[in-house]
Amino acid sequence: MRNDSHKWQPVPAQDPEPIRMGSLEITAVTAPRQLLISGSQEQILNFFKLDKLQVWPEPVIIRDNKSIYAVPLRRDRLLIINGKHVEEGWDEERGLAVSEMSHGYRVIDVSGPGAFDLLRRGTELDQNIPSGSAIREFKGFEILLYPVNSFKRFRLHTRIPDFPAFWMLLQQLAMQTNSHPSNP
């Protein structure tokens, strides 16, 4: 029983300022609508009128902040970003389990030529090995990670309770990347 308040930097009430360091920019993105849906992938994609599912290392194409896309979590579970409103719960007709997750993840964009170099400080990434899941273990944090439009911009989703520590970690990794760039 002790008061450790002073040992922990307070959680900021607002979005943190972007981190800009050398060729890197890290930005907290205003949370898009996120729906967690389980069931047949084909059924889910059809329901949201999505052509196909991008799997690592294929970049997700995002034109604007209303673009609809699917992030694969496992073979029968997707996170639909900016999808249409769907009633939560069990959809008997389609065999889908639907949950609102808009407030569960904070979204972060890491961009710039040094982005990949930063990310490989936290997790094992290989552009030649495809992965059907965007879930990554990143220095102890479970996150979602996928490239956006190219390999110079990546989007990360981190659970809300992990966000303060994860942001701090990204700050440290950005400093390391900037001061000791590695040669992949």
Binding site: D4, V11, S38, R121, D126
Partner: protein
């Protein structure tokens, strides 16, 4: 040894002179020198003192195989302990101090211990300091033991960079074999990473003593590197592969300067080629530890890389064909060289503190350096990390790689191949993953002659002072297993981890046991291959990132209310509010909750949704309690068991809809419960009919608890009939808060009327503010985890992991009915019917009642009975508090046969004190449940 710098040669930059100090005296070296080469070049022969007897120690090797040269080095006011002088590159201004020596390595006050050597053999400490008590001697022995000194000032500015990388081929070692393999692989279109622990590539190429492809070794290496890099290969120098782990993961430590943290590379390679070379095996003879005696390859390396001659009058004692080449190189550099065949006669070193002569074949030969080689030993450590087997090679008198992992090849000297042409064929085959070509070896090592009964000490482990006599003693005392020998004598436990001492020791033991070396076996090879600083592993894991806690979305509100935050189950949560007097604050929170209403943040509680047509059946299998009768809108308490039948967690399960359930498990077990649900979903169930969504972090949960909680909740106008009849205990209603959904669960962890309100994170702060504001008229208090723990203990509610242990079963805490009546199978069912589960002496959850004025019991205190006056523990206190509600201490405990002892007195013992307490039912507050159901 009187080492000296040659006028030319080596890879050092003679235009860049570096000044340094050793044991208080000033010296100079050159850029590119190691600390060891600089000391040798300055004629310093005694670098340090041995661990046990403080015997003078000089350089044995030129790289990581040297056991004699750990030194403390001060750079920029910070002292780094036990830096290997042979692998630490010299920097301007280094202040170097010998270890285990005072005032200097040359004149060490504790060297008198050497005279006591006959009385301090292996096992001396184990035998002597047993009586009357080891702890009497321990402080003095610990003070004397150890090498180097740790600087008490931490160097927190050091932070290792840690990087993941993948490649097709990782090649460890950039000697001739590694360079040839690297170029062949990169030409083949593979992504190749080549690593070498020296600051310049080339490995043993500089010691070859002849041209390679008509080029000098330096030109040949440069050409190979140029071709490799132009073809897209990546070369990392100053980088040691120190461990191979599962799935071809190789750990690399990339060193720069001493005052900069090394970089950790985690390489995942499709294939690994080990070209790690070989090191000299020492020869065991009398006085073979004298400064001035050095490995032959070490002597050649000092000459080739650093332009340093080990001596002017050099003797070579060896038993293999490389001697002629070595002799030629040394003579060319200006030394007089005598060669002695170690397979023909026994040698004996002579001299005082340092070497002065060698006695061989009945004659004495003066020398200032003796270069020794009992044959080259392939470096097979990484191969063994990866699980590769070893085979004893009689031709080499050493172990070579045998059967092993398919994706790892060992080539060159590490494979026992020393001939250039054969080495090239082997490297090219490895690069293309072709079978290793057959070859005949010309490198033959002749058997050494030895005499274990020779007068004088013959040294096996130079750093730890293990002698041949120690091995004989251990064997005589039946420490005949190589693992026992190691621990009894401390052989191979020095900072070099037996790189030089293991093979001579194994051969000695084999002879003593009249066995072959393979029959004796080897000890286990484990990472790290070389010492690496702890910082390498730490990286960003420091301060708040050492063990980052999950943070509440409502933390800003808690801080502004003066919350004292602390860790509870991996979350930073309010322990209590207003820190001035914690005990008083907690007391007031309990009283306020019992008499009025309390508001608390319960967001960490699990919110795992299970959906699908088989969801109900599935949960009924995973949980102990019967859930088949749970109706939509109802809630049930349930226990999750392990397959051993012990309690893993508890939860309240809400049936939200026909095929939709909400599992609200305990805060600290959410991740584990979710994983267990996922595992069972895919084992014995149809995963197409059950889906699991962990939504814990999408919701904020706020609890209002206490007799006025209904009135407070009513202030929110939730649009739900909150009356006891319409909304009874253990039921659920869906409401709205602003535009958002609000879930209201009437459940209680305090024992009073209580509601859990859950809204999406975005609405959490507003709901909290409204409740706090509306609560003012009801004298509402903010409730921290400490007060909540007291409230639940007053009611007898358990916290799993605190009031249960790894053996507690549900019937031990009063949940026996499902065990006997549940018809459907469930996890842990079988284990609940074993003999152990039905043992009469199982520990039951009970309450302990103490007199009003007494102090609370210590958590963990034993409940004892006395048998013939001797105490025996029959249980222990799991939770203990002063109860503000009851105005006296209370406790929960697990106690053998506790159920049948209700009403009796128990003796509680803690750290020598004992007191009496009355055994009671664990529910102290409102046992009839009228407050709960109000």
């Amino acid at each position: 040894m009187s080492g000296s710098r040659t006028n030319k040669g080596g890879l050092i930059d003679r235009n860049r002179r570096l000044g340094f100090q050793f044991d208080g005296r000033h010296y100079n070296g050159f850029q590119g020198d190691t600390v060891a080469s600089a000391l040798l070049a300055n004629g310093i022969s005694v670098i340090g003192r041995s661990f046990k007897y403080h015997r003078p120690r000089g350089l044995w090797g030129a790289w990581f195989d040297d056991p004699n040269s750990p030194v403390n080095i001060t750079v920029n006011t910070h002292e780094f302990p036990n830096c290997p002088a042979t692998t630490t590159y010299l920097e301007e201004g280094m202040n170097i101090r010998s270890v285990n020596a005072w005032p200097s390595a040359k004149f060490d006050a504790k060297s008198a211990l050497n005279w006591l050597r006959p009385f301090l053999p292996a096992g001396f400490y184990y035998k002597t300091f047993m009586w009357p008590d080891w702890h009497l001697f321990e402080p003095a022995i610990r003070k004397m033991a150890g090498l180097g000194n740790l600087d008490p000032e931490p160097v927190d500015q050091l932070q290792s960079d840690q990087i993941h990388q993948t490649c097709d081929v990782l090649i460890v070692g950039s000697g001739p074999a590694g360079l040839i393999a690297a170029n062949a692989a990169v030409r083949d279109g593979q992504s190749v990473l080549l690593v070498d622990d020296h600051n310049k590539p080339g490995g043993s190429a500089y010691r070859f003593g002849h041209k390679l492809d008509d080029k000098t070794p330096q030109d040949w290496v440069n050409e190979q590197v140029r071709q490799f890099e132009e073809a897209g290969g990546q070369l990392l120098c100053s980088t040691t592969a120190f461990g191979i782990y599962d799935h071809n993961l190789v750990a690399l430590a990339q060193f720069s300067s001493l005052d900069q943290a090394p970089r950790l590379w985690r390489i995942r390679a499709k294939r690994i080629i080990l070209a790690t070379g070989a090191i000299d095996r020492p020869i065991t003879f009398t006085n073979n530890d004298k400064p001035g005696i050095m490995s032959l390859e070490g002597g050649l390396e000092y000459l080739a890389r650093y332009g340093v001659l080990a001596g002017r009058e050099i003797a070579i004692l060896a038993n293999h064909p490389r001697v002629e080449m070595a002799s030629g190189q040394l003579q060319q550099a200006g030394a007089n060289v005598d060669v002695f065949d170690a397979s023909e006669n026994i040698a004996r070193a002579k001299g005082g503190r340092t070497l002065s002569a060698i006695r061989y074949g009945g004659s004495t030969y003066r020398c200032d350096a003796l270069l020794v080689s009992g044959g080259l030993m392939p470096l097979v450590h990484l191969w063994r990390h990866a699980g590769g087997k070893l085979a004893w090679n009689e031709q080499l008198h050493g172990f070579v790689p045998d059967q092993g992992p398919q994706n790892i090849n060992v080539i060159g000297a590490a494979n026992g191949t020393f001939e250039l042409e054969q080495l090239q064929a082997e490297a090219e085959a490895a690069a293309s993953a072709s079978p290793t070509p057959d070859r005949s070896k010309t490198y033959n090592v002749r058997s050494l002659v030895d005499d274990p009964h020779n007068k004088g000490s013959q040294w096996i482990d130079f750093q730890h002072d293990v002698t041949l006599k120690d091995i004989e003693l251990a064997e005589r005392e039946n420490y005949a297993s190589v693992e026992h020998l190691k621990r009894y004598t401390t052989l191979g436990m020095a900072s070099d981890q037996g790189k030089t001492s293991n093979i001579p020791a194994l051969e000695a033991l084999a002879k003593l046991r009249d066995k072959s070396v393979p029959e004796v076996g080897t000890t286990t090879f484990r990472p790290p291959f070389v010492p690496v600083p702890f910082e390498l592993y730490r990286g960003t894991r420091r301060e708040q990132l050492f063990n980052p806690l999950k943070r509440l979305p409502l933390e800003p509100a808690h801080r502004s209310s003066g919350a004292a935050l602390g860790e509870y189950g991996g979350w930073l949560r309010p322990g209590w509010y207003v820190d001035k007097d914690p005990e008083k604050a907690i007391h007031n929170e309990v009283i306020g909750a019992r008499n009025h209403v309390a508001i608390s943040d319960a967001s960490p509680l699990g919110k795992i949704e299970v959906m699908g047509p088989d969801a109900g059946k599935f949960l009924n299998f995973v949980f102990y309690n019967n859930l088949t009768t749970l109706k939509p809108g109802s809630i049930r308490y349930a226990l999750m068991l392990t397959e051993r039948g012990t309690i893993f967690d508890d939860a309240v399960i809400t049936r939200l809809e026909e095929h939709r359930y909400l599992v609200s498990c305990s805060s600290s077990h959410v991740d584990a419960v979710r994983d267990i649900l996922e595992a069972w979903r895919q084992d014995g169930h149809d995963p197409g009919r059950i889906f699991i969504h962990d939504l814990t972090h999408n919701w904020v949960t706020i609890t209002v608890s206490g007799p006025k909680s209904r009135q407070l909740l009513q202030e929110l106008e939730p649009g739900v009939d909150l009356s006891a009849k319409a909304f009874p205990h253990m039921s659920f209603r869906q409401a709205t808060f602003k535009q958002d959904p609000m879930r209201i669960a009437r459940v209680s962890f305090t024992g009073d009327l209580s509601y859990e309100l859950s809204v999406p994170v975005s609405s959490g702060a507003e709901l909290w503010q409204q409740l706090v504001k509306a609560g003012e008229q009801y004298s509402a208090v903010l409730l921290g985890v400490e007060a909540l723990s007291i409230l639940r203990a007053e009611k007898g509610y358990i916290i799993v992991g605190k009031d249960t242990d790894g053996e507690t079963m549900p019937h031990d805490i009063g949940f026996g009915i499902p065990r006997s009546r549940k018809k459907q199978p469930f996890v842990g069912d079988r284990s609940l019917h074993t003999h152990a589960a039905n043992d009469d002496r199982r520990r039951h959850l009970i309450g302990l009642e103490l007199p009003p004025k007494s102090e609370p019991l210590a958590t963990g205190a034993h409940i004892i009975i006395r048998i013939s006056g001797e105490p025996r523990s029959i249980g222990y206190v799991t939770s203990s508090y002063f109860s503000p509600t009851l105005d006296r201490p209370i406790a929960l405990a697990l106690m053998e046969q506790g159920d049948s002892l209700i009403g009796k007195m128990a003796e509680i013992w803690n750290e020598g004190d004992s007191q009496k307490a009355k055994i009671v039912n664990p529910c102290f507050h409102d046992p009839e449940g009228s407050s709960l159901n109000a």
